[in-house]
């Protein structure tokens, strides 16, 4: 196991003992990725933030759900995020999600960059929204290269072959949609 994997296991053991400082360290290590993953699946930042709160609350109140040694911590964590995100979608009702343009970062260099960023994000969101949710989830899991295809498949409860089939279809669709994006 990698050093970071050992760290995550140690932090989870301390969280199980009620160590709030260990919990904060885990938040610092993984909150960005959790939020990014939820946002890529749901395409809505506010909903993704709700998911992040739900996931970390569950992590604090039910640390016993993580069985050390069975899977890597991140594989388990991202599975929790995926399930929570898909449940949230189901509660809202199925159907294509609106590709809401997220407000651009106002600390960007200038107004042109802000507009360009906004447009780029809107195009990417629109392209992602066209994907079936399972393809979008597969892409969301592997985009940051934290998980191997095998681990991403485990996070989705799929075989590696099934996950790679989703990735192939997703990448082909996105390539056609984003070819002229600067």
């Amino acid at each position: 196991m990698t050093a970071s994997g050992d760290d995550d296991d140690r932090l989870m053991a301390r969280i199980a003992a009620g160590d709030a400082d260990a919990f904060r360290q885990l938040v610092d290590r993984h909150a960005d990725r959790v939020l990014a993953l939820a946002r890529r699946v749901l395409l809505h930042r506010a909903d993704a933030e709700d998911i992040a709160q739900e996931v970390f609350t569950r992590l604090w109140t039910r640390p016993d759900r993580y069985r050390r040694g069975r899977v890597r911590f991140t594989t388990w964590l991202y599975r929790v995020v995926v399930n929570a995100s898909l449940n949230a979608r189901r509660k809202r009702g199925e159907g294509p999600l609106p590709a809401a343009a997220e407000p651009a970062d106002t600390t960007a260099a200038g107004p042109e960059d802000t507009v360009r960023e906004c447009q780029s994000r809107a195009r990417v969101d629109a392209a992602l929204a066209e994907l079936p949710v399972n393809q979008r989830t597969a892409m969301a899991l592997i985009l940051d290269r934290e998980l191997s295809n095998r681990e991403a498949a485990a996070s989705m409860g799929l075989s590696v072959k099934a996950l790679e089939a989703l990735l192939v279809r997703a990448r082909r669709t996105l390539r056609n949609r984003l070819t002229d994006l600067k």
Binding site: G18, A20, F23, R24, V27, A31, D32, L35, A36, R39, R40, R45, A48, E49, A52, Q53, F56, T57, W60, T61, R62, D64, E117, S120, R121, R123, V124, D125, L128, M139, A140, I142, L143, D144, R145, S148, N149, E164, L167, V168, R171, R172, L174, R175, L178, T179, L181
Partner: protein, 139 residues
Amino acid sequence: MNELRLQALLDRHGPHLEDWPWWRRPTARRLLARDPGARRLHNRALAAEQRLRQASGADVAEPLRACLYAIPERHPQADRRDDIRPVRTGWWAGGALAGATACLVAGLALGTTVLAPTTDNFDVAGLAYGDIYLTETLP
């Protein structure tokens, strides 16, 4: 390997060769070294993935981070114990008991009807097992 095959593998494994299965990397690297078309495909895949990552990601803003940090205060240790639901044994324990009872009843039924020792010519009275009482008059 040709460009078509390279594109298929880029779609399957992504644009970072270090993420590919190890046995595919040398051939891909040789193709990229000699074929400009292959390099275009590879660069396009790299750029697309980077755009996707940058445009679709999210960083945790301070208000959310503060909210996450406050979770232990909102769910103190005592509440965590209460939140941990006890293992529900009711439904399966009841099922196991019902199953065991059913097996016992079935066993008793089999033992006293189907498997009950029957009389034969050598043991006309059928009393060999000691627990059968002759109740019928034999022909």
